[in-house]
């Protein structure tokens, strides 16, 4: 005996109805929640930038941002200038922190001029230059905010990822990894840009040698580590001309 629900016509109608209902539901959820999600992402960027220049609420071992309610105010207070570098042209843009680094990388690939956002922070009389960088890890995107001084010595870094393996690659956003970058030199002794290698056999697990251009890798996270090395080399290098200019002026 054929059931009502076995008929082809019913099956097709059900499928159409299901698609309409689920589609409408998802579209409604996505569009009604979008303003909240965008706002969260905007605040997160401010928190990330502040974190990299040392404005955070770190305790002994874990990485903690300033609260989302304080972030906009602190961002205004500590970030004195937001610059956009396009070739030789440097302009100020109060919304530079919203520039999508991934899109700019795609532009550069297509042969167009790339906008390089740079945030200048002042804290306790010290100037920080905070650079957003973007690359890929094992599964998906990884990115970071790195703050450097005028000698391209790292002052702080915040790493994040979209979907690295928990316990392995995802550990790039742990203090033990991020803090290793503090004090590391991006240039070699003769002032040529060398980047920082996430190195497996560097025999310096306590990271005492800050001028070796190396930090200790995470066991089991080789490809994520290589991704970190690559994005530091590719993206931070682009800022060297600007930083060099600062010193000569």
């Amino acid at each position: 005996m054929e059931n009502r629900t076995d008929k082809n016509s019913y099956t097709i109608l059900f499928a159409i109805g299901m698609v309409l209902v689920v589609g409408a539901l998802l579209a409604f959820a996505a569009s009604s929640l979008k303003p909240n999600i965008d706002e969260n992402k905007r605040l997160e960027k401010q928190q990330n930038i502040l974190y990299a220049m040392g404005v955070n609420e770190n305790d002994d071992s874990s990485a903690n941002f300033v609260s989302t309610t304080d972030a906009p105010e602190l961002f205004k207070k500590y970030i004195t200038k937001q610059l956009v570098i396009e070739g030789d042209k440097v302009t100020e843009d109060p919304e530079a922190y919203l520039i999508d680094v991934k899109k700019e990388q795609a532009k550069a690939k297509a042969g167009l001029e790339r906008k390089l956002p740079l945030f200048v922070g002042e804290k306790d009389g010290k100037t920080f230059y905070i650079v957003p960088i973007y690359g890929k890890g094992l599964w998906d995107a990884i990115w970071a905010y790195v703050s450097i001084d005028e000698n391209m010595v790292v002052q702080g870094a915040y790493f994040d990822h979209k979907g690295e393996t928990p316990g392995l690659g995802a550990n790039i956003k742990q203090r033990f990894f991020m803090d290793d970058f503090i004090g590391e030199h991006l240039l070699n002794e003769s002032g040529v840009f060398k980047g920082i290698d996430v190195a497996k056999g560097n025999a310096d697990p306590k990271n005492e040698n800050k001028t070796d251009n190396e930090v200790d890798a995470i066991a089991g996270a080789t490809i994520t580590g290589n991704g970190v090395t690559a994005m530091i080399k590719a993206d931070l290098k682009l800022y060297k001309p600007y930083i060099d200019n600062l010193k000569t002026n």
């Binding site: 076995d6 099956t11 909240n36």
Partner: protein, 214 residues
């Protein structure tokens, strides 16, 4: 359990031991390998799967008389995918920190065979309340194994539990490390998860011979 009848209570207790989705039905292995390198991720995954499986079971059970049998698998897939995406969006809007912790799990929840398995095997033929209990029970059984595996992998692989250095500091050489103990890096890699699951299966079947198939 005064709240539940004996039959209903069995829906929760069975998957914890003699009908465990991982060790007996051998479902959901992929996620058990992927995210158990640390205990915290195991717990988060267990709770997420529990929420999705319980709600999904109820939804499928409510629709069980109107789902055309020819496309039931597709319907199940749509239900679980829509559910997970909506939950993810809501978390992104209102609990952004939590959603970042969960991001990597979203895809793994949708593809978890336990969820489709329970939809197909239980929710399509049972009433919503029993389906709800079945979802909770199976997710608890799954979570239990995840937490056991996560516990051993994090303890032996990183020397920590939930991020706390319980065995001392491997770089400063304190605690156990002072007398020459070393972390086993192999524990952090997926093959060891499979071996730990294998050991659990071994222990379980040697305690209950009835589970051994010929």
């Amino acid at each position: 359990m005064g709240l539940l009848s004996k039959k209903d209570a069995k829906l929760i207790t069975d998957p914890l031991a003699d009908n465990n989705p991982i060790t007996i039905q051998v479902l959901g292995i992929c996620s058990a390998l992927a995210i158990t390198a640390e205990l915290k991720a195991s717990i988060v995954m267990a709770l997420s799967v529990m929420a999705v499986l319980a709600i999904g079971n109820v939804v499928i059970s409510l629709m069980r008389n109107i789902i055309p049998s020819k496309i039931r698998i597709i319907v199940q897939l749509v239900v679980v995918a829509a559910l997970v995406i909506i939950v993810d969006q809501v978390l992104k809007a209102f609990a952004y920190e939590l959603s970042k912790t969960l991001s990597v799990f979203v895809g793994l929840i949708i593809t978890n065979c336990i969820i489709m398995g329970r939809f197909e095997a239980f929710a399509l033929g049972n009433k919503p309340w029993r389906s709800f209990l079945d979802g909770i029970g199976n997710a608890a059984g799954y979570g239990l194994i995840l937490i056991i595996v996560g516990f051993f992998r994090e303890l032996l692989g990183s020397g920590t539990l939930l991020g706390f250095k319980v065995l001392g500091d491997p770089i400063e050489k304190t605690g156990l490390y002072a007398i020459g103990y070393e972390n086993n890096g192999f524990m952090l890699l997926s093959p060891m998860a499979l071996i730990v699951v294998g050991i659990i299966i071994w222990v379980q079947r040697s305690r209950n011979q009835a589970l051994i198939e010929d």
